[in-house]
């Protein structure tokens, strides 16, 4: 090796690619992780596929719109996998005591967040594609029946998942691995109130008010409008997108604030121990 020459930081995309590669290597090198990625969405589709077949002849609601439960299951997984994709990638760094190495490299927090989101997008698509194919092949429900709305639903749900994941990551930075279960638990707390499988109107009034604050509630209502009423509710999509903007700003803001606080408290050095 020769004498030192001063170096530039390199391009942000290069650093993001480096982090992307790190997680690609972990997933590609482990068949159990690849299976896990598609296992849960597939199990969900199988369960809701059979429930749909049963209810098709026993429920007027399902009879009016065959795929409404399967679509709910698939869309819920976008939200859940989107959140988990970010949160677990972050937890991986803590489990491997790699966080301090990353943040003493030229990688900036904004690049780190963008990388986690890109990873989550890829993981969610990879996990859901086989489940969607299964729903079509075995239960006769093609998620493409949602039309172009599907794209809007997808991004609204994954962005909400990212925003919540940012808060979870921040809480893990602040409270350590004791908070890691939030990565799984928080989303399940939201599931009953965002109307995945039933209209929001069945909730008690006070819970409907809570539900109105969740972007996912508007997506699932919009999904039922497409499948049951055969109408595209642009108003619901706009409301979901507007709420998501607020969620994303708050989520990223919370992560940045927790990150700053972690630097003040010295937790980047010791988190995970």
């Amino acid at each position: 090796m020769s004498a030192i020459r001063p170096r530039s930081a390199g391009h942000p995309l290069r650093r993001m690619w480096g982090l992307f590669l790190r997680h690609y290597y972990v997933s590609a090198g482990s068949w159990t992780r690849l299976v896990e990625m598609i296992y849960w969405p597939t199990v969900q589709v199988v369960i809701w596929g059979f429930i749909t077949e049963f209810l098709y002849t026993n429920s007027s609601f399902v009879a009016r719109a065959f795929g409404v439960l399967l679509a709910g299951a698939l869309l819920w997984d976008i939200l859940f996998r989107g959140q988990l994709g970010v949160a677990v990638s972050f937890l991986e760094e803590i489990w491997s005591r790699n966080l301090a190495q990353l943040f003493t490299s030229p990688l900036r927090p904004a690049e780190y967040i963008a990388s986690l989101m890109a990873l989550s997008l890829v993981r969610t698509l990879l996990g859901l594609a086989p489940a969607a194919a299964l729903a079509s092949a075995f239960f006769g429900f093609n998620v493409a029946e949602l039309g172009l709305s599907l794209i809007v639903f997808f991004f609204n749900l994954i962005v909400m998942g990212w925003a919540i994941a940012m808060v979870v990551c921040g809480l893990v930075l602040r409270y350590g691995l004791g908070a890691e279960n939030l990565a799984w638990a928080l989303m399940f707390a939201l599931a009953p109130i965002c109307g995945i499988y039933y209209p929001i109107s069945v909730l008690p009034e006070w819970l409907q008010a809570v539900s109105a604050g969740l972007p996912a509630s508007y997506v699932f209502e919009g999904m039922r409008a497409v499948l049951v009423d055969k109408t595209v509710r642009f108003d619901l999509m706009v409301q979901a997108a507007a709420l998501n903007l607020v969620y994303l700003v708050l989520g990223i803001g919370a992560f940045v604030a927790f990150f700053r606080n972690a630097r003040i408290r010295g937790q980047l050095v010791h988190v995970g121990e």
Partner: protein, 249 residues
């Protein structure tokens, strides 16, 4: 006179009611090899973490390569690197995959060639394909050092680089660092408990106790000042508050 590579002034770090670093001032000359010495909890790791920007100081300034680290750390981070036994790398990745990741993070130009070069220099080409988690402590130390050298750092911060290594591997690492520093002219700041290591490697020593600098100077000068035969004896005098009057001189 050249400006120092690292200059720390009035540096304080308090964690709630605990003062980990208590108003320290020191400078590391460009191309220098300096040690931070001190017992556990003396403030060595906290000081290095503040220089790297991992911890925000309560008070004081840190200037690295002429830049204010608190304001412009991202101008400096591509030009420095570090290694510590308190951090790790993903264990499921191979050694090469870990180094590829960090080469991209540091914007290394020719990734494959650089990895081959550091692996050859640190003598671990035979386990580039092995997963990091299967390596011994000594092998991991070499890989961690390779990661720290990927960007040809102008400053290398090493936190106990030979902790938990067997004497043979530790000696090899010391020899490598000394040779690397001579070849490249890099500035090295090393935190250590190991007095013989510091005597062998460093031209300047900063001894910390309870977050304060209690002695500073060349190893030989400190040994003379305390009237002792080795740096370890000096360290024990300081650690046990013997000859306190000497430190004040």
């Amino acid at each position: 006179m050249n400006s120092p590579a690292i200059a720390v002034a009035g540096l304080v770090k308090r964690f709630d009611k605990v003062t980990a670093v208590d108003g320290i001032d020191f400078a590391v000359a460009a191309g220098g090899f300096t040690a931070l010495l001190g017992a556990n909890g003396a403030g060595k790791t906290t000081t290095i973490a503040m220089i790297l920007g991992l911890i925000v100081p309560t008070a004081g300034t840190i200037t690295v390569l002429g830049e204010d680290m608190l304001e412009h750390r991202y101008r400096v981070l591509p030009r420095i690197n570090f290694s510590s036994p308190y951090v790790d790398m993903p264990k499921r990745l191979t050694v090469r995959q870990n180094l590829v990741t960090y080469a991209h993070l540091y914007g290394v130009a020719s990734v494959a060639a650089k990895i081959e070069a550091v692996a050859q220099a640190l003598e671990f080409t035979d386990y580039l394909k092995r997963t990091y988690g299967t390596l011994s402590s000594g092998q991991r130390t070499r890989v961690a050092l390779a990661k720290a050298l990927l960007n040809d750092p102008e400053i290398l911060l090493l936190d106990e680089p030979t902790a938990s290594l067997d004497p043979d591997t530790a000696d090899w690492v010391r020899g490598y660092l000394l040779d690397y520093q001579r070849r490249t002219g890099a500035t090295i700041l090393l935190a250590s408990h190991n007095m013989s290591e510091v005597e062998r490697l460093c031209r300047e020593v900063v001894i910390l106790k309870a977050g304060k600098i209690v002695a500073q100077g060349a190893p030989g000068a400190l040994i003379d000042r305390y009237g002792r035969g080795t740096l370890e004896e000096v360290f024990l005098d300081i650690a046990r508050d013997r000859r306190a009057s000497v430190a004040a001189q």
